[in-house]
Structures are given as C-alpha cells and as structure tokens.
Symmetry: C2
C-alpha cells in the first residue's frame, strides 16, 4: 500500500471518506472492549485453579523445617518459597525476602522507606531538597505514579531495543547526586517488550553513581513470561554482575507470581545484597510480623519446583500467543506500508508498544474510546502522563477474547489511519 | 499466708532458702517453655482447617457482584468481606477498607502515610520538628515500636480498669498541638485485658485536640475474643459516637482475623470516616492494585456470616479459657496474700498483666528465663522498653499446652516470690 505521506491531497481526501464510513460502522456496533491493562484472561486464571486444591483440610501446613505456616512469624518467608522464587528470579534464596501479594506494594514500600529513613545510613529523602529518578520511556505508569506521589522529579531516558540509553544514564548518574534511582523493567519491558542487552546490563552493573544511595529498581516482572518456546530472551542476572564488579548494593530486584498464578493472590519478592537485606529488615520488623505463609506454601505445593512453574508458563503462552498474533496481524495487514506508525513484536511479556505519528496518540485513543474500545490512556507510558511527542500507545492484548480482540485491533488500526490521514491532509493543505 | 513485708528477717531468710531449693529443682528439669507472645496454640489453628476446603478447584471464585476474585483490582476489598468484617467491627461496610494479612502493617502504613504526606491536607509529620504520641501503659510493644521507629516522642498515660487516664489525655491533647495520636487497645487491652468504660469512650469521642491532624489509633484487636459466654465486655462503638458528637474524622480503627482464622494468613481491615477514607485511598491507589481477594472470599465462604464467626470464637475460648485459669489459679494459690504482686483477670483477649513490686520485674523475668521459661521482656509494655517502676510483666498463656503452662506458671510464681523475698529482706537489713 502507498504511504500516506506520498498520497496526493485528493487521494487522502478519498481515503478519509472511506475511513469515516468504516468508523461509523464500528460506532454502530456498540462495542465495549478493553485493551488497556495487562490483565490475564479467564482462561489463564483457569489453569491455576489446581492451586485451590494444593492445600486442603487434611494437609499438613508445616514447612520442611517444621514451622507451622498457620501461625505468626518468619519475617522473610518460608525456606521452600525462597528456593522456588530464588529459582524463578535466578537468585540465591538467602538474598530473597518473600512479601505479600503485590510487588508494586514492595516497590512503594522501598521508596517510602528511603523517603522516611534513608538507605543504609544515608539521609532520608524527605530531608533533601531535591530527589530525582531516571525513567526509561516509554515505561510503566504505576512506577511513575509512585515517584510522582513522593514528589520525586522524573527524568525521561529514551529506550532502544537494547534498553535505556546508557550513555545518558551513565552521564546523569555520575554527575548528579540528587539522582537516587532508575526504574527498569529489564525483560520484556512494559510496554515495548524489549529485553536489555548483555552490554546494557554490563553497563548498569558498572555505574559509578554520584549518590551513595543510588539504587537500580529492577522490576523483573516478566522474567519467565515467554510467548514462544523457541524465541526466549535471556537477561544477564544483575545482582551477580553487580557483585562481580564490586557494586553489590546497587540493586533492588522485584518480582511476583501475579501473572503466573493469580494476580492479587500471588506472592511477591525482593532480591538484593546482604547489606540491603539488613537495612530492609531493620524496617520490616516494625511493619509486620510476617507475610502470608499459607499462601507461600500453597504456591510451593502447587508448582513443586521451577520446572513445574516453567511448564505452567507454557500454558499461559499457549493462551495469549494467539492474541498477540491477532493484534500483530491486524497492525501488519492494515497499517503495513502506510508509514504512519511503528510497533514492537516482543518475545514475551504483556504488551505491544505502538508509536503513532507525533501528535496523534491522544486523538487515536479518544477515537477508539468513542467507538467502544478502551486503550491505555495516551501519555500514560511517560512520567506525569505527558508524552512530549504524543506518540506512544500501549496495547494490552491478553484480556479480551480472540473475537473481541480482533474487532478491537481492527478498530484501533482504523483510528490510527483516520487520525494520521487527517493530520497529513492538514499538513499538505497548510503547506 | 503471711505477707512477706510482715515477716521477720529470720522468717524471710528461711523462706528464701526454701524457695532457692525449689528453684534449683526447676532448673534441673531443663524446661523450654514460652509464655512470651500472644500466639494461638496448635489446637486453635486446627479449628480453622475447614477454611482450606472453603475454596477448591471446582469452586466459583466470583463475588456476588460477578467480580472474578482471581484477577487484579478492587482496591478496598470485596463487598461480602466488607459486610462480614463490618459486622465484626460494628461498622458500616462502606466505611471499611479490607487490607492484606496484617493489621500491624496497616497501622505502620497509616503512620508512614501521615509522616510522608500528612493527614487530610495537614503538614506531613516529617516536616515537623516534633511529633508526639500518647501511649497508655502498660501497652502493646509493637505499637510503641512503630512510633519509636518514626522518631515520634511517646508520652506514657496510666491505665486503670476503666481505660487510660482521661483527665490526662484531655489536658495533653487540648494543650499540645505536637500530640498527633494515641495508641489504644480498647477492648481486652494488651496486656491487662481491660475494656474501656462507656464513660472513657464518651470522653475519647469528645476530645478537643489542639492538632487538627490528631487521630485516635483504635486497635480493636480483640473485639470478639471473649473467654466466657456469660462474662462479655461491651464497648461503645467509637466511630458512631464520634460522628454523633461532631468529631467524625478523629479515629482510625483497626482489626483483623489474625486470632480468628490463621495469624499471618487472615485479613486485616481499617474502619474510618468518609473523609479519612478518601485521604487514604489517594495514597493506597499508588501503593497497590488490590489486596488478596481470594483470601477474602475464602474467609467469607468459611465463616458465612458474623454468627458463624462468633460460634467459631467459642471454640477458641473453649481451648484457651482453661489456660487462663491454670495461670490465674497458680497466681492465686501461690501468691495470694503475700502482697508481692497484683494481676488482672480478664474476660477476653490474650494476656494477663502482672505487676510485681517496684524494681523486681526484670529480675523475675531473668530468673524465669534461666530456668527455661521465656516471658515477654520486662519493660516491653512501656515505650522505649523502659518501665520506670520495673514492675509490669505480660503473661501470654495461650500457646503452651496445659501441662507446660502449669509448670511455667508455677515457676513464674516461684521467681516472683524469690525476687520479692530477696528485695524485702534486703530492705529490712538496710533499714
């Protein structure tokens, strides 16, 4: 198909008429579809129902070491859960704290602790005039929400398929001691599905931050969330690399089973160095007596071990891979060659990232919404919800069923075409 | 028996010799007993095992309103859990937020939020030079641990069987705007088992705090934890009373099912006014997507309703009532008339509070420990772990089995006698 920019005004005007008529048809369908959040679908939840039988009233709810999981105690989590999650996170169980049901909550608490009490003896952030975070963009809106809530200034850092712009990260981090952290989703990133290259992780581990309390917030949310058996990304393990190069305390690593078992009823974890562990536990001991050990045990009994968990992930992949393909096919077949957008084709994770022509994202999302398809708010992938290019749109294909998704993806591409054609037509008119 | 203070030096010396010999016998028994923490015993945990069958792989994990509890969302908790916990807390379900597994965690987060962001638009506590809390004493060590961790100055307020000294509370709260809160365990208090009188709650609701962001931290941990069917304490419901007198926003009320279902695997909740709710939700939305709804549903399916829960509590009472009686009998039969200690006889809760002669608590606890019986650390019931009288000891009778408890209680009374006799003998010698 001919690129829109190469069309004449007349060709574009004709195209716009066709698109408008098509859009009208979708509006008449009274759709109520949602591609906004990275939520598993019902079929994905169904594959974890066996977890409800993993413990029953006849079960012995004791750990291998004899701890009765039904009672108080065990601040850092039961040993067998640490082993399972350690295998999942590729970290030593001794470097892991098992938390409650939400890794977002762990990240929030990690920021809050730095804010109220400081990191490893450094000044609490609430006592500083200025605290800044680096935010690879596009990124995860809930990360940005936490730092914004704490009044932390966010500096966008461009992403490439290799990860964040490391020249920029190295420069900023080494020069500015008010920069205290960076948000990273290093594998199957949110929303692009990029995995940081070996070189990127190497350079992260070798950062020389001006701030002694600079920390990398390494949210490995999609560590084992592959879409394809034969196209898996591998990520250099950051804690090990940091330890090797003499930077052992620079990383907080987060993960959870939210998109493995049940979102909201899984277990979350943090992996970090012994020094950071000690620092954290000095606080955690005041915050709680312990997290839900019965649920930890339930996960261990259900999955058995990391092999059980990776086999389980194949079932997830089998359900959501066709959904990614529906969206990717729609994008390719309906936008290919038009030069009005680019998109990612990830090997895992929960999202496809779409970049429209500058200044079009908001209008595209609005148009989709008016025809009954909810997308993630345009701008959400940027700090403060402000995408300076008004270009990036996050597509979340997992939740709707295939038929709905097909419709939603088609409508989305239609909105992209209509908004882009209008923009180019206007430019040609004004030129 | 003759009071020690009325004995002659010679009588005391003889008594001390007898007690020493007896103490030696206990030492030889190589005991390892624990009366230190308010932990349910195994038999208590067993009565909740049915909860493990409340949900299975055939179950529909949807709420009455159709929400799939297995997926993300529902920040404030599922409706049926709010109804159950609302009945438990005697509050409107609309005024309740269901949290994770730990009410301590909710209290910590409530303090942390006030510290980082302030309460309802008031200055964050981290920006103030001085923040103070009132602490009824003896009280709960983990409460004091949170306020100490945040650098909040704690002012002890004496308890009586009616509750905290309200003359003192009223005076301090109305005069000093740096006083931002008070820790209360209003029913079957920790450690005395006192329940606040109607008059005390009335006066709490009518406080006129100098600080606009003064809040009562009302930890109703033992709201339905009666020991006797025919001797229940009733507590005036504080939120309703505050609303009636025009002070609706003054209370955060906390509760959990920790000592109803499984400690560490229950559900916690906060009840408060609509204004406070709004203030809290502005923060909570950044901290988490939602708490564990599957566990909320599990509790609802297991207990059914508040009647099911109160029937369940009778089973707990049947198990632990004899344990309280063993301790109370030992105290009465072995210390009665000696005038070397007083103790409480609660109608519910998890503790008996013992007051030794001034200056004896530490030594008594040390002596018990040396003979293999761990008590709560002396001083723990006071802010900063410092009991100025060195007198109060918390006894937790629920965890050991009856035989162990009998031994432990006997040893404890022996230690009380020995330390007290030594003290009085010394005083008589020095006089």
């Amino acid at each position: 198909m001919k690129a829109y920019k190469d069309m004449t005004k007349e060709e574009l005007a004709a195209e716009i008429e066709v698109l408008k008529a098509e859009y009208k048809k979708y509006q008449d369908m009274d759709l109520h579809l949602d591609m906004s959040r990275g939520k598993p679908c019902r079929e994905q939840l169904d594959i974890s129902m066996g977890m409800m039988d993993a413990l029953n009233s006849e079960a012995d709810l004791s750990c291998a070491d004899g701890t009765d999981c039904r009672n108080y105690g065990v601040l850092t989590g039961i040993e067998e859960a640490k082993i399972l999650i350690g295998d999942m996170m590729e970290n030593n169980p001794d470097n892991i704290i098992i938390y409650g049901n939400s890794s977002l909550n762990v990240m929030y608490d990690t920021i809050a602790r730095a804010y109220t009490h400081g990191i490893m003896g450094n000044t609490p952030w609430c006592k500083l005039d200025k605290v800044k975070f680096l935010c690879p963009v596009p990124g995860y809106d809930r990360h940005f929400g936490i730092t914004e809530y704490f009044g932390i200034e966010m500096i966008p850092v461009p992403m490439s398929p290799e990860g964040p712009d490391m020249d920029m990260v190295e420069k900023l981090v080494s020069e500015d001691e008010t920069i205290k952290g960076i948000w990273c989703v290093p594998k199957y990133s949110n929303p692009q599905g990029y995995s940081y290259s070996d070189e990127t992780v190497r350079r992260f581990a070798r950062l020389k931050p001006a701030a002694k309390d600079f920390r990398i917030f390494w949210d490995n949310a999609y560590g084992i969330h592959h879409l394809y058996d034969d196209r898996e990304d591998y990520l250099v393990e950051i804690l090990a690399e940091c330890k090797r190069v003499g930077n052992p305390d620079m990383v907080y690593k987060f993960a959870s089973t939210s998109k493995i078992s049940f979102p909201g009823s899984g277990i979350a974890a943090l992996a970090t160095s012994p020094n950071n562990m000690e620092d954290i536990l000095n606080q955690l001991t005041h915050q709680t007596i312990g997290h839900d050990k019965v649920n930890q045990l339930r996960h261990v009994r259900f999955f058995g071990d990391i092999h059980g968990m990776t086999e389980h992930m194949k079932k997830h992949a089998a359900i959501i891979r066709p959904k990614f393909e529906v969206v990717l096919n729609a994008l390719e077949s309906r936008l290919g060659g038009l030069e009005i957008g680019t998109w990612t084709n990830p090997n895992g994770g929960y999202f496809i990232s779409f970049d429209a022509l500058d200044g079009c994202a908001k209008e595209i999302v609005d148009k989709a919404k008016k025809a009954g398809v909810v997308m993630t708010k345009a701008g959400a992938t940027w700090p403060y919800g402000k995408d300076p290019h008004d270009s990036n749109i996050r597509i979340a294909p997992t939740y709707p069923n295939i038929e709905d998704l097909k419709l939603a993806a088609e409508l989305f591409t239609l909105c992209v075409r209509l908004v882009s054609a209008n923009k180019i037509y206007k430019e040609k008119t004004e030129a």
